[in-house]
Symmetry: C2
Subunit: 565 residues, 2 copies
Amino acid sequence: MNAYQPHAAEHTFVLFDVLRAHEQLAELPAMAEHADTALLTQVIEEAGKFVGEVVAPLNREGDEVGAQWRNGAVTMPPGFRDAYQAFWQAGWPSLASATEDGGQGLPCVLEAVLHEMLNAANHGWTMAPGLLHGAYECIRHHGSDALKARYLDKLASGEWLATMCLTEPHAGSDLGLASTRALPLPDGHYALSGTKIFISGGDHDLSDNIVHLVLARLPDAPPGPKGLSLFVVPKFEADGSRSAVHCERIEEKMGLHGSPTCVMRFDAARAAIIGEPGKGLNAMFVMMNSARLLVGLQGVGLLDAAWQKASAYAQERRQMRAPGTSSKVGEADLIALHPAMQRILGTQRAWIDAGRVIAYRTALELDIQKHHPDAARRDAAARWCSLVTPVLKSAWTEQAFSGASACLQVFGGHGYVREWGIEQHVRDARVSMIYEGTNEIQAIDLLVRKTLPDGAASLRALLAELAEDSADPRARAALERFEHFVRHAVVAATTPQGTASVDRPYWLADDFLRALALLLMAWAWSRIAAAESGGKPSAGAAFWRWVWPEFEMRMTLMDNTLAEA
Amino acid sequence: MNAYQPHAAEHTFVLFDVLRAHEQLAELPAMAEHADTALLTQVIEEAGKFVGEVVAPLNREGDEVGAQWRNGAVTMPPGFRDAYQAFWQAGWPSLASATEDGGQGLPCVLEAVLHEMLNAANHGWTMAPGLLHGAYECIRHHGSDALKARYLDKLASGEWLATMCLTEPHAGSDLGLASTRALPLPDGHYALSGTKIFISGGDHDLSDNIVHLVLARLPDAPPGPKGLSLFVVPKFEADGSRSAVHCERIEEKMGLHGSPTCVMRFDAARAAIIGEPGKGLNAMFVMMNSARLLVGLQGVGLLDAAWQKASAYAQERRQMRAPGTSSKVGEADLIALHPAMQRILGTQRAWIDAGRVIAYRTALELDIQKHHPDAARRDAAARWCSLVTPVLKSAWTEQAFSGASACLQVFGGHGYVREWGIEQHVRDARVSMIYEGTNEIQAIDLLVRKTLPDGAASLRALLAELAEDSADPRARAALERFEHFVRHAVVAATTPQGTASVDRPYWLADDFLRALALLLMAWAWSRIAAAESGGKPSAGAAFWRWVWPEFEMRMTLMDNTLAEA
């Protein structure tokens, strides 16, 4: 079975025809020179070529050989180091980094397209550069001048790779329980001691140095999240000496074998602080928010990779007569003609295409949030990113897993054997529902942290914006209905003035996020339909027929929860 | 993490308190002597002990070491052969075989309980004896006296194991495309040549002989399914010589590593015919129908095994404060107190408990179908088995996979690493959606083959029976509504007199099966509620709150399909 191949035209269609990205970028002084469809298309085509020719062919062996741990060091699967060296030397990691740090200053949305393709092609390999841009942003915004001087250009270029060291054995979703200690040293540095787990790329041989960003606790720090500070520990010091951080072992996992998930031991490792003591989580959240968008893009990409395989197989394999077909070629019809297979493929396509619109729009809003001259527009962009990112992360990683499983079903028994490569997507995709904040935590983030505190004002503004931008009457009506429901039912029943128990929003959260995901899809399909020339076959019909009815079910589920005593 | 442990009381509650199995068995002359709750409870307790002590502990190594192929022979994982030898020597395979064949003549429903436990404990190991009873029944009903004399007692006792050799590289769901040839030999036997794939247990070292039942085509056979005949080829002939059937390789799979999935090559292998030429598929369907019930039981068992692990973990792991809790033990609450985790665990429990009621009822109806003195009651039993088996197989294998994945989510990142064993359930469960007829084929079987041909008369009789047996008004109302919908909408729109296109039932089938699954659950929860003493906590509330709203969505989906031009 052939490896995933990017099709640049599918991505540029969403960017330019659906989202009019070039027009939006033209409004940003820092980006105006890049607001050129020909230039952006060329970058996307080159990216597609690199991904298809260099990264995608390594995916299978990445799964089968996997990252290997021996005597404290990790060896990556065959070809991974060469591909990574070619990747950074070609300038791909620095696409959206600032020109003053040696970057190319291109828009974030371009990096989003690149990462969607990379994840579709090789999820394991892409984990390594996945955290790079976040680490770069984190040091850029919070690091001292000395730290910037030492790390910024290496991270911008991708010559060095980075990790996020957060989780500990007893501190997963609840980082406040972390207990790694940082003792001040006389020279202003710190000695870090503790064990971090689930560290993606904690060790590897892709790059000549690895920069660890680590959450730890100063001796006088209070318990809980406010006692956490952020530190940087390089694998190799400036003088070339090896620092006291080591990979103790790597996890045996369900999938994602191309990415080593490391247990990292810090033995009084020499560290520098990033930002202020006790503000570690704030600094880290800069990384986590951009990481969440990338995980959402993983969802879209992984689902597209699975869809490509299943769609190709359905056009090759013949079993039984399909109902109502008149063709008499051979003894059986292509399985692509069977209704159950058409439903599976159409449904996944509906998720992929809408997810791409939503993800690219979010990346574009990141560019707008950074660079738009109008503060009100920047606020609207921040609102979009804040509210839509958890929805994208949660709903599209869920779909990457369940949809890849549906694509596996197209292969019948051949899907369950490794030969065809489809089962790898299912195993790989599963982790995306967990990391960067579990999907349940995304739902709580959306409703409890971001919607209820301002009485849903931000959310309602987002809904109004979507409704205004939706030509399809079904989308518009549902958005208005949901806005009404949020205002009159959710807010009323969950504010302290209400009679509700304090846990009610937590019972609502999953359905609430899911309803918003479907509304975003309805908006996206309305936009896609408006951009389509008409002759092109589209998964919009599959969306309205097979996916959309879930919205009503989510409303019922929420009504039931609100009706609980 | 501890291995799965059966809890006999959960199974006897369903059998005796919910289903009143002892009263139903008392009406069957052949079973009346076994219609004793004390006797049946003792068998179930002994089965639970064997499963928990002997079979469950081998599950993990079965996955990690897996079945190994070397030079044409398969070696099973450590401990598998000893456990199997102990299993058949203790008489477990012969539970429901006829006493005249050396069996114990106990009811099928007891075998169902045993197989649910076995599959929960060790899906891979249980694949081996999984086909035994079907092979026994097949030869018992269709074999010549000579075949019976040679095989029946060995299969009844389980001293020899059996396979079903159906699939070929180009004939999966569409067995009519099979091309394995059977040439008549002068002595009345046949020489079989061809390659069969996906043969579970095609070779192994569990038993001293393996009996292959093989679909093949006589020289003058017509193309398609009516040209298939059924043959038996033993691994070892009566004189001890090795027959010309060999395992060429085993598949690398997503999971189920404890069961070798074999490519079997027949090189003019000496074979005997079972039943009449051209009636092979009929004879094989006897095996497939009982196999489908067993696969449904796999779904229930695998989900229960995943639930046991997740529930135990949720009672151990602490992360964050749960909303509204007043406990101040330590710095964080048990994750079992978090609403999102309660929803996951309650939802899966709702599926497991209802699935068990439906599966045991189906097994009981098999006993009734075989042994009831009243022909009308036998017909009703046959109707139940025919209509409910595809629903059970499809909906509960789907839930075993998606529900095991939900249970994995309870573990967060720890769920994705192999250490805790939960990810194995997800990988193992996935195959059950494919084999014994894909879930899409079950849906077509239910609607196109079993419901529409008699104008839904059988289905409507089933719905009426369920409604009469449901004390819960929600269940009763929904069953009556569905009956009306089937009669007025589905049948009218899909009969040749209607204007519908011939493919419409195929577009409806998946939602139709799913709606019936939910109705069966509503009936089952109505029955469970009636049997419960009241004080016991129950997942019934989780069913009505979280699972049931899907019914309305399925009705909408079907309305949409019926409204299509």
